[in-house]
């Protein structure tokens, strides 16, 4: 190709024009620099207490929605309660990760039974679960209740069913559990206090 002076200028101006188009028309959108939106804006804040160790740090649980009728709320974040005099907003690695406990893949969602000798779980209804467990309890209690000991003293105990009481549930649940177990005569009970 033989390019004369005029042709050369043509090529040059075409190149310039092309890059001008790139600069004006096709140039990238303005690179904005805004911070990520604050994710807790308008989230529902609920005050609670960390369920791990006995420091009992106050936590703020943030969930979606405003508790209106049609919106299901989901916990999206948990952080320390700055008002709580003990932790003053701080949390340890366990408390700071509480959301992953609440949303653990290993949360149980419905009652299950593993039949004697079976190798798998079977989903059952609450009604069936309560019914079967209550029958077991009554049968065992009626069969093994000790009204009097060998010396003939009234002892009224049911020693053959045991119960380990949660140290993670609220005082009220613990109290109700103890009250119920004592009324049933259970003496084989303990809690996590020493382990």
């Amino acid at each position: 190709m033989n390019m004369n002076r005029r042709q050369f200028f043509k090529v040059c101006s075409a190149g310039l024009g092309g890059s001008s188009i790139a600069l004006m028309g096709f140039s990238p959108t303005a690179a904005l620099a805004e911070v990520r939106t604050f994710k807790l804006a308008r989230a529902t804040e609920t005050r609670n207490i960390c369920p791990y160790c006995s420091v009992s740090c106050g936590v703020l649980i943030y969930s979606t929605g405003d508790k209106s009728k049609n919106s299901q709320s989901e916990i999206i974040h948990i952080e320390g309660d700055p008002d709580n005099p003990v932790n003053r907003g701080t949390l340890c690695p366990k408390g700071a990760g509480l959301r992953d406990m609440i949303q653990s893949e290993n949360r149980l969602k419905w009652p299950e039974v593993r039949e004697a000798g079976a190798s798998e779980w079977k989903r059952i209804s609450w009604n069936e679960a309560f019914d079967r467990i209550a029958k077991h309890m009554k049968a065992d209690r009626d069969a093994n209740f000790v009204a009097q000991n060998a010396d003939g003293l009234t002892v009224n105990r049911w020693p053959t069913t045991g119960f380990l009481v949660s140290s993670a549930s609220q005082n009220e649940a613990g109290y109700l559990t103890v009250k119920t177990l004592r009324a049933l005569g259970i003496t084989s009970l303990d809690t996590q206090a020493r382990i």
């Binding site: 690179a31 620099a33 701080t90 690695p93 366990k94």
Partner: protein, 298 residues
Amino acid sequence: MALQSLDIKQRSATTTPSTQVRETIEIAKLIDVSACIGCKACQVACSEWNDIRDEVGNCHGVYDNPMDLSAKSWTVMRYTEVEQDNKLEWLIRKDGCMHCADPGCLKACPAPGAIIQYSNGIVDFHQENCIGCGYCVTGCPFNVPRISKEDSKAYKCSLCSDRVAVNQAPACVKACPTGAIQFGSKEDMKDYAAKRVEDLKERGYDQAGLYDPQGVGGTHVMYVLHHADKPDLYAGLPANPSISPLVALWKGFAKPLATLALAGVALGSLFHYVTKGPNEVSKEIEDEIEREDKEEAK
């Protein structure tokens, strides 16, 4: 210390100045290594706030886990057992972005607006503008940014710019159970550090001091160290970090100069052409060939 989107000090790959008129407070995070128990609350709080979850790894025979910074671990604790003069110390340092006043990552970044330095000192990555070239990694004197294998974007600690923007402390700071991480204006943090250093000196740490390296213009994440004379003890914290001279050279004056040189070549050629004219085959030789052809034809 409100942080609004326009309070920008520097943007990557941008040659014109950003808005400079508003005066905002320069902030800093102070990590008091002498009060750190290495509990990793900061690691968890960071992951929780920023919605990142790294892989469940393996134990590698040390307490460290995850073993290194990654696109999904923006801060990690580094544990070092040091025995000096028969005294054992377990030095635990929270590693992560230092938010340099003179950020090497920003300097190296070729994508406009992918790295922003806010006027409060936070150096933030904007993944939307990131092209994944990894130049920020080469620019960083602390080896902090990481490129995600999933989206090829660069990630690192944002100093929770979204929290700071609404006047909340970063998530790690808020969580830190022992108050080893403090947050406030850089000036206040220096004052706080001075008190801590005084206390440490009283306890026999003669070389206690503040780590605010001037090689990068100071940082917005600072450390109180018991052995400020030997930052290297703390899992290789650099004693005198600065932007690699290679990066400085390359991103400093070399590139504009090279651009000018290239423009010079182009313009030189143009002017050469218009002044000297094209180098055409001389009439003489054309005639010679013609003559030869005629002779041959005979």
